[in-house]
Amino acid sequence: MNNLLKILSFVGLALTVGPAFLVFAGTITWPTHATLMLLGTLLWFGTAPFWMHKQQAEDNG
């Protein structure tokens, strides 16, 4: 479960930054980039807190 959350989180980060390079390359339009970035943001904040907090607690504990 933890690994799945981590994978989804990193997909979220990839969706946050990746589309910008595709706009630069002329592959996608700016509105598509903005939509994908929002999706990436939601994915990151929807998954990262669960495994990051757990990992932090383990590091501290």
Binding site: L13, V17, F24, W30, T35
Partner: protein, 475 residues
């Protein structure tokens, strides 16, 4: 002040810091990853949406910006690694307790008040930053570069609403917000990068080879906006070096670096400097160049929206909020010394009100460069005092931590060094025209020399007992 009153003041200060009196124990020391994460997170924040654009407004050239930031950040990292970290790992104390030993509790009280006020204004700037994003869906009139006062009812209502939310969240739980900040940090950095990359084609950059031409002709053109002074390489270099002056040569980051296993962990501040104070400032500069071409709105919310749409607005709100919250918390901690009988929530509420009122004035955000420079300058002399006390006094056969040893409530050498340094910096600025960004360097040497000379006078005046005892102990 009567002895009972002064001792009460000292007790109040001590009570607030009761968990931080002892040096950090060996088992609580942290590894490199914690410091890399902490510095990277702390320096990719809401302020970055303001500082990069202000460099563009001040008409810096592309070469001056890139080189000035590079050199200034190297100097900042060296200041953390060679000045702050060695004292932090040798004493394992936070700034508060080290300063208390040197300056006495009453001078520390004064330092805390100044610090708290600066924190309030800094948090106020962050609330202003967040308000520029929150106001977009409501078609709020954005503050402009030269605005000093609230420019519309919409601005006032938005700032009050954001300030209220931030204050209530700070009251409800600082720890949870601190955890949320850590989650937001990597995403936030990528938002800066993505915003800049995505708008480059609109500025005319279609391949990497175009960048330098566009950078010089459309972004960092060397032409300041109306009403703004012209910045050179030196302005950028000194700003990059001294924008965190309170933290490195002011030694506030002893609080963090005392947990470092080795002094060279201070070099990990490079992750904050080069991700936040290099990449993020360049990215926000690129965004504002496009904003100037299009709408002319240079507030953080509109420029982030240009780069990333709704995700950009979320980034500005999160950046402003996660920076404002711990700042309000720290200000509350310092302010609690004045109101010892108040509950923590009441102090936080009072600080939140002051902060929100400050945030109503866009000048705080639009003149952030000056404010940040002033903030560092005001607190820096006490860092020089600690540096001198730690390294130089023993070399002259003088006693360290003299106020603690003599049970002094107020160290006049430290107090005079602080006050006279600021007076000297004011004189350099007013009479010799030395700019605000450049005062930190002469100021540090002035504070060091003053504290050294005044400590010598103080301890020699108290001789022979002081020096005899010191010599006796050394033998």
């Amino acid at each position: 002040m009567a002895p009972t009153e002064t001792s009460t003041l000292a007790q109040r200060l001590d009570a607030i810091n009761e968990f931080d009196r002892e040096p950090v124990s060996e088992d609580r020391l942290q590894g490199p990853a914690n410091f890399i994460g902490l510095y990277a997170g702390e320096h990719v924040a809401g302020t970055e949406f303001v500082i990069g654009p202000l460099f563009v407004a001040h008409g810096v050239t592309a070469a001056d910006l890139l080189l000035g930031l590079f050199v200034g950040n190297v100097l900042a990292v060296l200041s953390w690694a060679l000045i702050c970290a060695p004292i932090a790992v040798r004493t394992r104390l936070n700034l508060y307790w080290k300063l208390r030993k040197i300056a006495g509790p009453n001078l520390l009280f004064l330092y805390n008040i100044v610090n708290a006020l600066m924190f309030c204004f800094l948090a106020g700037a962050m609330i202003s930053v967040a308000a520029t994003a929150v106001g977009i869906p409501f078609n709020m009139t954005m503050p402009h570069l030269n605005d000093l006062y609230p420019n519309s009812l919409g601005w006032v209502v938005t700032v009050l609403a954001v300030g209220a939310v931030v204050t209530v969240l700070a009251i409800l739980g600082f720890e949870k917000i601190a955890r949320f900040s850590k989650v937001a940090a990597p995403w936030m950095f990528l938002v800066f990068v993505a915003c800049a990359i995505a708008v480059l084609p609109q500025l005319g950059v279609t391949s990497a080879g175009d960048f330098w031409t566009v950078a010089n002709e459309k972004i960092w053109t060397g032409m300041p906006l109306a009403g703004q002074s012209k910045f050179s390489f030196w302005h950028i270099m000194f700003f990059a070096w001294f924008c965190n002056m309170a933290m490195h040569i002011g030694l506030a980051d002893m609080t963090i670096l005392r947990y470092a296993k080795k002094w060279h962990y201070g070099f990990f501040s490079a992750f904050g400097m080069y991700l936040g104070h290099y990449v993020a400032w360049i990215a926000s500069g690129i965004l504002v160049a496009l904003a100037l071409q299009q709408s002319g709105e240079i507030a953080p919310g509109p420029i982030a929206y240009l780069g990333a749409g709704v995700a950009g607005l979320i980034a500005v709100v999160v950046a402003g909020w996660t920076t404002a919250n711990p700042t309000i918390y720290r200000a509350g901690l310092a302010m609690q010394t004045i109101t010892p009988n108040w509950k923590r929530w009441k102090v936080t509420l009072a600080v939140g009100v002051v902060t929100t009122v400050a945030a109503l004035f866009p000048a705080l955000m639009m003149r952030l460069l000056d404010f940040v420079a002033l903030y560092g300058l005001l607190l820096m002399p006490m860092g020089a005092v600690i540096f001198t006390d730690f390294w130089l006094l023993p070399k002259l056969g003088l006693r360290q931590d003299y106020a603690e040893w003599k049970h002094l409530l107020f160290s006049w050498p430290a107090g005079l060094a602080w006050g006279l340094t600021l007076a000297a910096c004011w004189g350099l600025n007013v009479f010799w025209g030395v700019g605000l960004f450049f005062l930190g360097l002469p100021g540090w040497f002035i504070a060091t020399a003053l504290y050294l000379g005044l400590s010598y006078a103080q301890q020699r005046a108290a001789a022979p007992s002081t020096s005899d005892r010191l010599i006796g102990e050394k033998a």
